[in-house]
Symmetry: C2
Subunit: 329 residues, 2 copies
C-alpha cells in the first residue's frame, strides 16, 4: 500500500507541476495583454480629445471647409461610440487603485476584481457587514445610555464606530472601482461619520458632555435600528437584481425598470423611518449648538453640531433626489 500511495503522490506532483507552469505562462500573457490594453486605451483617449478639439475649432472658425455636414455628423456618432467602448468595455478591465482613501491605507494595489462572481460576493459581504454590525451598535448604544457613571463605554463605542466607518469607506471605494453606482454623497457621509466619531471621542468628560451624551447615543441607537431595516432592503434589492441576472454587473443603471421591482413592502416601512432619522439628526445638531453656546470652550460641541447638520442636509437632499429619479415621488 505504501508503494501505491507513493506512486500516486508522484503522479499528483507531476500534475501540480504541469498546472503551475501553465499558470505561470498564463500570468505572463495576462500582464503583457493588460499593459497593451492600457497603452491602446491611452492612445485612443488622446485621439478622441484631439478629434473633439478639431470639431470644436471648425465650428468656432466657421470654416467647415470641404467637410460635408454628413461627415461631421458621422464623426460625432463615431466619437460617441468610441467613448462608450472605452468606458464600458475597456476601462472595467484596467487596474484601479480604488482612489485616495484606499491609497491612504494600502498604497498602490489593484482592487479591481477580474470576474463578476467575485464582485457580487464582495458586495454581499459589504451588506452583511452592515447587517451584522447594526445589532452590536444597538446594544452598545443602549449600554451607553444607561451606564452614565463612566466615560469608558462611550469611548469604546466611538472607537468602534470610527473603525466601522473606515471599513465601510474602504469597501465602498472598492465597490465604486468595480462599477457600483453608490452616490458620492453616501461615501462622503461615511467620511463625515468617521470624523464625527473621532470628535466625540475627544470630547472631554464634564458638564457639557453630560448634557449632550443622551442625544448623541439616542441618535446612534436610532440610526443603528434604521441600519437593520436598510440592510434588509439592500439585501432584498441585491437578491432581486441577482435573480434578474443583472447584479453581476454592479453598474446596472438603477433608473432601469428592473431596479424598481425590489421597491416593495420594505420601502413603505423604510421611507418613514428615514424621514424620522433626518428630523432626529436636525434636532441633534440644534442641541449641539445649544450646548456650545452654553459652554463655548468646548469646541467639540460646535464641530459635532456642524458635522451633524451638514450630514442631515446632504441626507435629505440625496434621499429626495433618489426617490425622484426612481419616480416614486
Amino acid at each position: 500500500p505504501l508503494g501505491a500511495e507513493l506512486n500516486e503522490l508522484e503522479r499528483a506532483n507531476g500534475e501540480l507541476e504541469k498546472t503551475v507552469n501553465e499558470y505561470g505562462s498564463l500570468i505572463e500573457r495576462y500582464t503583457k495583454l493588460q499593459q497593451q490594453l492600457c497603452q491602446l486605451a491611452a492612445k485612443q483617449q488622446k485621439r478622441l480629445v484631439h478629434l473633439e478639439r478639431t470639431l470644436a475649432n471648425q465650428r468656432e472658425t466657421m470654416r467647415p471647409r470641404n467637410n460635408s455636414p454628413d461627415l461631421r455628423q458621422e464623426t460625432r456618432a463615431v466619437l460617441e461610440r468610441s467613448r462608450k467602448l472605452l468606458r464600458e468595455r475597456v476601462e472595467p478591465l484596467l487596474p484601479s487603485d480604488g482612489g485616495w482613501f484606499v491609497r491612504l491605507f494600502l498604497g498602490t494595489i489593484n482592487v479591481r476584481f477580474m470576474d463578476k462572481r467575485t464582485r457580487l460576493s464582495f458586495k454581499r459581504e459589504y451588506e452583511q457587514f452592515k447587517q451584522q454590525t447594526a445589532p452590536a451598535l444597538v446594544i452598545a448604544s443602549v449600554v451607553c445610555l444607561l451606564w452614565t457613571s463612566s466615560r469608558w463605554p462611550s469611548l469604546l463605542l466611538q472607537m468602534f464606530i470610527a473603525y466601522y466607518y473606515s471599513a465601510l469607506a474602504l469597501r465602498e471605494s472598492v465597490l465604486v472601482a468595480n462599477g457600483s453606482n453608490i452616490r458620492r454623497w453616501w461615501r462622503l457621509h461615511h467620511y463625515l461619520s468617521l470624523v464625527l466619531a473621532v470628535v466625540v471621542l475627544t470630547w472631554p468628560d464634564g458638564e457639557a458632555y453630560a448634557e449632550f451624551r443622551g442625544e448623541i447615543h439616542f441618535l446612534g441607537l436610532y440610526l443603528s435600528l434604521l441600519q437593520i431595516l436598510q440592510a434588509r432592503y439592500q439585501m432584498s434589492r441585491l437578491y432581486t437584481l441577482r435573480s434578474l441576472g443583472k447584479a453581476g454587473e454592479l453598474d446596472v443603471a438603477n433608473t432601469d425598470s428592473p431596479a424598481q421591482l425590489h421597491w416593495g413592502a420594505n420601502m413603505s416601512l423604510l421611507l418613514p423611518a428615514i424621514l424620522v432619522a433626518h428630523a432626529l439628526q436636525a434636532w441633534t445638531a440644534v442641541r449641539a449648538f445649544q450646548v456650545y453656546f452654553k459652554y463655548p470652550r468646548v469646541a467639540q460641541a460646535l464641530l459635532g453640531g456642524t458635522i451633524t447638520l451638514i450630514t442631515c442636509i446632504g441626507n435629505v437632499v440625496t434621499t429626495f433626489r433618489t426617490l425622484r429619479e426612481k419616480a416614486v415621488l
Copy 2:
C-alpha cells in the same frame, strides 16, 4: 483630414475590441486554472497528511510489514519534496485574503500580487511611506512638546499616529501574504502602537496628563528620528537585494549571505540608536507607572505603561534574535 482621423479611430476601435475579447477569454482560462490549482493543492495536502499518518502508525505498531527500510526512507524523501513543491511553488500562486487585519477592514479580497515587479514596488512604496511620514512626525512631536497650552495638537497627533499604524499594519499584512519575512513581532508591535495611540488619545486633560505629556512626546520624537535612520537602512537593503536580483522574491531567506551585504556603514549608527530607543521606552514605561501610582484613577496611565513595557521587551528580544541570526553577535 477629418475623414482620415475617422478611419484611424475606427481602426483603433477594432484593435481595442479584439484585445478586449482576447483579454476576456484569458481571464476565463485564468480563473478556471486557479480553481483547478486550488483543488489539486487541497487534494495533495490531504494525501500528504494521510501518508504521514500511515508512516507514523507503522512505526508505532512496530509492524513495518513487507515495506523495506529503503521504501520507507524513499517515502520520507518524496514527502519532503512534495511539501516543498506545495509551499514554494503552488501556495504563492493561490489567492490570499491577507489575514484577519485586512479582512477586518476590507472583507474578502485577494491581496496576492501576480508578478514580482508589483510585489517589489509595493514594498518600496511601504518603505517610502515610512520615510516620508517620519519627518512630519518629528515636526508634530516638537510642536506638541512646545505648545502645551492646548490639548488639540496632541489630539491631532495621536489621531494621525493611529491612522499611521493602521496603514502600516494593513500594508504589512499584504507584504506577508506576498512572502515577506517580516517577523511576527514587528507586526504585533504596530498593533500595540495603534492601541497605545488610541489610549493616549482618550487620556483626559488634567494634572496626570500634564505630568506625562513631555515623556510621551519626547519618546515619539526620538522614535520618529530613529525611523528616518531605519527607513534609510531598509531602502539600501532593498536596493542591495534588488541589484542582486533577489528582491523580486520577497521570500529570500535572510540568513543567506547576500542579505548580509547591506549590513554596512548604516548599521554602526543604527544599532546604538536602536539600543537607546529601547532604554528610552523602558524609562517611559516606568514614568507612566509612577504617574499611575500618583493618580490611580487615570487608567490610561496604567494601560499606557503596560503597553510601552510589553513593546520594549518585545523589541529588545526580537532585535537581539535578529542580530544573532545574522551572526553579528
